[in-house]
């Protein structure tokens, strides 16, 4: 029976579906052997015209890497403020509260601005999904942002002491989560440099946040109350450096973007600024100008590092090697184990 097309579709045989490729190709046309030989041998790694496998992140670095920095700065500043209040350092406490509130407000604006449809930002609170760090983060921000504003307003106006203290305590609980959830946000993507770093990135972000809050603390606080900020920056920088090193070592090939190109330059600049800031902070601890300079360097170091991490993710998407090769070796390992 041959195929027949009726108004009910094709009936009978479907020759196209069963066509075999190359069964008769070349037969009966064997003129001469040899001919043109491939000049370039097949490469080990193949791709589709070198095009990326993944679609590039559509987030803008100024808004999103900027928000990672601001969120970290805010979250760790809330902790610094609570510590300062508990240990009787009122100037450091109130200034850190103002920094925490201003930073998260600016960060929130950046997040809304980065949306494709900024007018629909409120849809972020339509559902709560634990599988989406962005959803969890939106609810976290909805609770944390206004609370930092209450704490800062109480500190500025010297009114509502009880509300101010409660708000300060709440921000100290939420702050560390605001500073670190963004690591899960980038880790929970297919972007190789981010996903492969998912174990260590939360600690990199925690350390970087402490460096930023310590830095701003040094800028804002009177010298007599600046010691905890200095130590916070030191501990933060140590945590960040250790976590970042571990991450790059463990990521193997996918750790490369953190050392190359624009991302590599930003990461190096971050380390340099951290080193300068720490030396200036401890060597110039009795000098106001040196302390302010150190604080600015440390804050900038944190910002630059976040931009570096963001850029490394983008670079790892641009080259299909970082997507394909780790997956290929995973397939090979699985095949080895199986047989």
């Amino acid at each position: 029976m041959s195929s027949e097309v009726t108004k009910d579709g094709m009936q009978g045989r479907r020759p196209g579906r069963d066509a075999t490729v190359g069964t008769d190709a070349g037969r009966g046309r064997r003129r001469k052997r040899g001919g043109e030989q491939p000049v370039v041998p097949d490469a080990e790694f193949s791709s589709y015209y070198g095009l990326p496998v993944l679609n590039a992140p559509v987030w803008h670095s100024r808004e999103i890497a900027g928000y990672f920095f601001l969120g970290g700065l805010s979250g760790a500043s809330s902790l610094l403020a609570a510590g300062a209040q508990l240990t009787g350092r009122p100037a450091l406490a109130s200034r850190a509260k103002i920094v925490a509130s201003a930073a998260i407000a600016l960060g929130g604006v950046a997040l809304v601005k980065d949306l494709g449809r900024p007018s629909r930002f409120v849809n972020m609170l339509r559902v709560l999904k634990p599988t989406s760090p962005m959803s969890v983060g939106s609810w976290l921000l909805a609770a944390y942002g206004p609370t930092t504003a209450v704490a800062a307003a109480a500190a500025l106006t010297h009114r509502g002491r009880r509300a101010g203290t409660a708000a300060t305590a709440a921000t100290a609980v939420l702050g560390p989560l605001v500073a670190t959830y963004t690591a899960a946000l980038v880790g929970d993507t297919a972007v190789p440099a981010w996903h492969e770093g998912h174990r260590e990135l939360p600690f990199v972000f925690a350390g970087s946040s402490a460096t930023a809050a310590g830095g701003i603390g040094l800028v804002c606080a009177p010298l007599a109350q600046a010691a905890p900020a200095r130590r916070l920056a030191l501990v933060g920088a140590a945590l960040e450096a250790f976590a970042a090193r571990t991450m790059q070592r463990r990521a193997g090939l996918v750790g490369e973007p953190y050392r190359q190109g624009r991302a590599g330059r930003l990461m190096k600049l971050g380390q340099l600024l951290t080193a300068i800031g720490l030396v200036a902070a401890f060597a110039g601890r009795r000098r106001r100008v040196a302390t302010i300079g150190a604080g600015l360097a440390l804050t900038a170091a944190s910002a630059v590092t976040r931009f570096g991490i963001f850029e490394a993710g983008r670079q790892s998407v641009a080259d299909p090697r970082y997507v394909v090769e780790p997956q290929r070796s995973r397939c090979a390992d699985a095949a080895d184990r199986a047989g």
Partner: protein, 283 residues
Amino acid sequence: MAWNLRPDGVSDPASAVGYESPPGRVGFFTDTSVCIGCKACEVACKEWNHVPEDGLRLTGMSYDNTEGLGADTWRHVAFIEQRKPLGDQEPGQRDELRWLMSSDVCKHCTHAACLDVCPTGSLFRTEFGTVVVQEDICNGCGYCISACPFGVIDQRQDDGRAWKCTLCYDRLTVGMEPACAKACPTESIQFGPLDELRERAAHRVEQLHDAGVADARLYGHDPNDGVGGDGAFFLLLDEPETYGLPPDPVVTTRDLPAMWRKVGLAALSLAGATLVAFAGRRP
């Protein structure tokens, strides 16, 4: 609940998210061995779904002019020219060249990362087991774009929202097959119940192996792979990466529980760092 944390081989994602008697999972089997690169699928998709034009230019990459899937390309026909023998062709012949053509599409994963990470609930699982964006809810956050392990979904530039293949959800609800499958002249794109397609594909691979096409292999058919199997799977004639497909994609949310634990630990470390900072001697 509209999410799965564990890719544990759920074969019917519609029931898994709470549909009481779903009509059964449907999908595509794209048999690239009979694709002739006519791009009727690309055109039919654009016409039916009102997908805007996305550049009428030549890429210089064989006859490909759309490069890859994106907000305005929901079916993408790849063209690959290779110096490799075709089937029983003897090596060393002058015309030892083959041309691979393949129509790529959204995979409608069993464990869909785009759906998991969507913070607004705009992406959802339909009763057919497919994954669809609700355009009246999407706020263009862009998370799904970085989460997709296949590079399928993307943001439409002048619109700001994320767009991708819906597997013609509107046509399915009235019992019609998707536009691309309807338009495909060689039945390279086959639409139907997923179980049936998987059987048909297994038979087809055998048939091709018997015909001497040793390169033929299925891609995305295995419910035990990193995304729990694709709703749209393929028969390929070379490694997946040659077609621009990832060889072993994994849904990123598989590692999310571990990430949340690390975030908790990191938050505690930050609190610990603050304690250390204040532990020193009072001035």
